[in-house]
Each structure stands twice: as C-alpha cells, then as structure tokens.
C-alpha cells in the first residue's frame, strides 16, 4: 500500500514539476537533448569517423581552423572536426554516468538498507566500510587504480563507482533507519514475515523515492568527476571521443586553438546542469514546505 503511494507521489511530483517548474522544463530539455545526441550522434555528426578519432587525409590543410560555417566548432590540432568529436562524445558520456550511478546506487542501497536493518556488528562494519570509501575522492582512487589496473574504461568506472556508492549507502541508511523504526515494519517483523520480504517490500521501496531523486542530480555530478579524471589523463585513452579527453587534448593548444577545449566543456556543463535542474525541481516538488508562496513578511 505504502509503496504504491510512494511511486504515485513521485509520478505526481514529475507531473506537477512539468506543469509548474521552468527549471524542470529546462532540465528535461537539456537532458533529452543529450540523450537524443547519444542516440543520433553518428547520424547527425558531419564526419562520424573523425568523431571517433580518424585523422582526415586533408589534415595538413585543415589543422586548427577556428569555428566557421564549414566547421561550426572549428577543427583540432590534427584537422578533425570538433563538432563531430563532441557529438560522438554524448553517447560515451551517458554510458559512463548511467553505469556509474546505477552500480553505485545498487551497492549503496544494499549496504545502507542492510546496515539499517541489522543492528550490532553488521551495522558497525558496513558503516565503517562506508566511511572508509567516503574518505577517498574519485580522483585519488583513479590514481591508485590507474597504477594497479592500467588505463581504460574499467579504471574510470571502478574508481567512480567505488567513490560514489558510499553516498548512497549513507543516504539510504538514514532513510531506511527511520523506516525500520516505524510501527508497521516492527509489526511485520514480529509477525514473522521473512527478513527478505520486509527488506524488499517495506524498507527498500519506501526509501527508493528520495534516493532516486538524489541519483538524478548525481548523474550530473558524476559527469563532472568523470571528465575531471579524464582531463587529468587518469581514465580513458587519448583517442576516445570523451569530452574530458577532448578538452585535455585542446588544453595543450589553449592559446592557439581555444575552441577545442571550449565546446566539450560547454557540453559537460549543459549536461550536468540538465540533470541537476531535474533533480532540484523534483526535490522541491516533494517538499511541501518549499512549495508555498513566501515573502519577507516581517
């Protein structure tokens, strides 16, 4: 019963936000734009192969062209069309952030809920684990894994997941603890309903809503961290069409070809902004106190 209500409330909130909140609309527009690019990227990019890293045969005549009608975002140091590079990057960006958030969410929920449900040593151990990983920002994690596992997609994903899950674990622990202490959960436990059922039906479902809203905002934050890691050369390989990588490549030419870094950075900003706005608008819709009209009345 209560789970149905939660989900309903979330979908209500989405509907309300869609009607009332400009922020939600802007956020939805931005994120669906990026999603669209991710799907259509190869179709709309003028030079898909250059987007994937191929140096054109005419490289010598094309290097370092500033933005023009022919190349709206200019060309890079090897004469590749930056627009194509950026467009092809959308898919990679979305794959990175959704994988990271989904995996972190899964780990975090399990750890948080278990810690909240079982008290004693399990709680202490899981919370301790959470704290340890919380103390390690993704970037140093990436450094260690880069040395241990080498460069590549797996290093990037592992370092991000390892540093993001504790946030969800912490949040779901707090929510789950309050749910666990509610009467109906206590009653269910007393009535001998198996732990598995209580955990899934009552606890997990009830905390899903706020954690999900947080996850939407985090999609943007993860992109910021991922691109910082890629920018520092700790993550993906240098010919991948990743926005952070392209910006890194352009950084070497920042004074002579600033457009190489400018545009991928802009896309990172817009994408992160899109998800952040979506999350914010939803959160505000779900908090009745913040929905009310307000002015400085005294």
């Amino acid at each position: 019963m209560s789970e149905v209500k939660e989900v309903l409330e979330l979908s209500h909130a989405v509907r309300r936000a869609w009607i009332r909140s400009t922020r939600f609309k802007v956020g939805a527009a931005l994120s669906s734009f990026v999603l669209l690019l991710a799907i259509l990227g190869p179709l709309v990019a003028p030079y898909p192969s250059e987007g994937m890293g191929a140096v054109p045969p005419t490289a010598a005549e094309r290097t370092g062209r500033p933005p023009s009608f022919e190349f709206p975002m200019g060309t890079d140091n090897l004469g590749r069309d930056v627009l194509s590079r950026v467009l092809m990057g959308a898919r990679l960006a979305l794959i990175q952030i959704t994988t990271v958030v989904a995996a972190s969410l899964a780990i975090g929920l399990v750890v948080g809920v278990l810690a909240a449900y079982y008290r004693g040593p399990i709680e202490v151990a899981l919370n301790y684990l959470t704290e340890v990983f919380l103390a390690l920002p993704a970037i140093v994690m990436a450094l260690a894994l880069r040395l241990a596992l080498g460069q590549g997609f797996h290093t990037l994903l592992f370092s991000l997941i390892l540093s993001w899950w504790p946030w969800y674990a912490r949040a779901s622990f707090v929510y789950a603890r309050s749910v666990v202490e509610m009467d109906y959960v206590l009653l269910a436990r007393l009535a001998g309903v198996p732990d598995r059922v209580v955990l899934l039906r009552h606890v997990l479902w009830n905390i899903l809503q706020p954690v999900l809203v947080q996850a939407i905002t985090d999609l943007g934050s993860v992109l910021l961290e991922a691109s910082a890691i890629n920018f520092l050369g700790l993550g993906l390989k240098p010919d991948e069409p990743d926005w952070g990588i392209i910006a890194q490549n352009g950084f070497k030419y920042i004074t002579s070809m600033p457009w190489i870094s400018l545009f991928p950075g802009l896309f990172i900003l817009l994408t992160a902004l899109g998800f952040s706005l979506l999350g914010d608008a939803l959160r505000e819709e779900l908090d009745p106190r913040l929905r009310r009209r307000w002015k400085l009345w005294f």
Partner: protein
Amino acid sequence: MPLSLSYLVKRVAWSITVIVGVVVLSYLIIILSPGDPAVKWAGHPRGPGAAKAVEQARKELGLDQPLHTQILNFLRMVFTGDLGLSIAYRQPVYDVLWRNLAATLELLLVAYAIGVPLGSFLGVFAALRRGKRVDGVLQAIGTVFANTPTFWLGLAIFMALLPSGFTAYGRVNVSLALSTGFYTITGLYLLDALLQLNFPVFVDALVRLLPPALAVAAYPVGVCLRIGRTLMADALLEEYVRAAAAWGVKRRTIVWRYAFRAALPGLVQVSGLAFAYSLVDAMVVEYVFGREGLGRLLYDAVSVNDFRLAIGLLVIVAAFYLIVNTLADIAQALIDPRVRL
C-alpha cells in the same frame, strides 16, 4: 565554553580508525591487482639494478610473511611517516607530499575564504527574496556554478586574462622572490610574505593566486548558495522567528541573529564536506594554472608509475578529508549550544 575532551577523543579516534581502513584498502589494491606487488611498489624499476630494487621492495613490504603481518607492517610504515623514497623524485614520500600540500592548501583556503562567505551571503539574499526574480537568477547562478567543470572554468578564466597580457602562472615570480630575499617558512606563500613583511612578494603571490582561487571558489559559491538558501528558508519558517517578529525585533536582527544563526551549523557542515571535494578541484586547477601542488604530484605519480607516491597521496587526501570533517563537526558542536559537550 570548554570543549569536552571525551567528545573530541571519540571523534578523533573514529577518524583514525577510518584512516587505518584507508591504509589497509590501499595495501589491498597493491596486493590484489594483477602483477607482482613488489614490482609495483618499486615503481617498475628498469635496468640491471631492477632486480635489487624489487628485492628491496619485497623486503620492505615483507611479502614472504602472512597477509596480516604484511598489513601491520605496512600500517607501521605509514604511521611512522616512512613510506620510503618516492620513485619519481628519490626523496622521502612524505617530504615531497608536505611541500606540495602547503601549496594546495593555500589555494583552497583562499578559495574558501572567498567562496563560502560569498555563497552563503547570496544564499541568504535569495532566501529572503524567495520566489522573486532575484531568487530565480541567484538559484540559476548557484546551479551553474555548482555544475561547471572546474578545469573548464579554470581554462576560461585563464583565457579571459590572456588578452590583458597578465598571466597568472605559477605561485610567485621567482626572480622577484629571489631579489627580495623571500624564503619559505610555512610553505603558504601569502603567510610567509606577511611574516617577512615582504609586500611585493605578497602582492605578487596574491595576484597569481586569485584567478585559480576564483575557479576553485565557484563550487563552494554554488553549494553554499543553494544550501544556504534552503537552510535559511527553513530557518525563516521557525517558530522563534515568528515569535521574535511578534515582539517587534528588527528585520535585520531577525535575519542575521536568529535565522542565519540557525543556518550556520548546517553551512559549516556542508562547507566541510565540500572542502574535500574542492581538494580535487584544486588539484585540477593547479594543473591548468601550472602551480605546484598535489595536482602535479598526481600527474607525475602516474607518468613514473610511482606507487609509493600514489599511496602517500591516497592517505594524505583521506586524512585531509577526515581532518576537515572532524574539524567541521567540532566547529558545529562549538557553535551549537544545544550540543552537550
């Protein structure tokens, strides 16, 4: 108000146990990832001396002993401040780290000295005008600031300064520092220059520090603006704000002495959490602005396969995170009279 010893001890003890966990974790990364741990610890040595270096590393880590002995051994190394010589610089890892931590810290502190008050003030301002156009604009600014890739912002600031002929590169003009007899005491150049009453170096260091600090400050501005607004909006709905208004307390007093005072502990906590995040930002911005600091160490550690330096960084960053958050917690306790110490 005296801070209760037991609270302090408990908080610090917890942080230390977490650090122990971080050290164990980093040891597991060395041990469990593919490849010979001794080779990794020795920094993939090359040349005919390699075998000897690897043997030395094997001895240092005690790889022939059972795992728990190894871990204890490693813990002792970390906590006695002996992580061996850095592969990249052939100097003790901790020496290198301390030298560079100061540079990063200086950048962070200045960024926070700008970012937190500015963000909080704007947050209060937005909360007071909740629902108005100003609020919308400020919230948009906050969201954009909190979501701008810092390296990109650094690049943008950097490029914006280029046409002016002013380049905020490095930490201080070396020629200037030398000719004025500047020397380092704490490693925080601004402080050192002040201590020596060396104003030219102070001005030079400050001017070079401000552009990267602004880039780093964007995130705390954004976060404090958003959080400050929320906390302040909540505080303005409190019963005691209503009561104070009914008793005729002036608006300004209510806003700052009642409502903002209530938002303060939350802001302190969030700033503490954000501080650790900004450490990462600072490392990236340092790289963009060619400053010394942990960011460059990170970069170097990768290019030389310097596992010792990497572990040192891991421990330092985690310790830094925990110290800042412990301090934030203690500060929060100090400024909240309800917390029994």
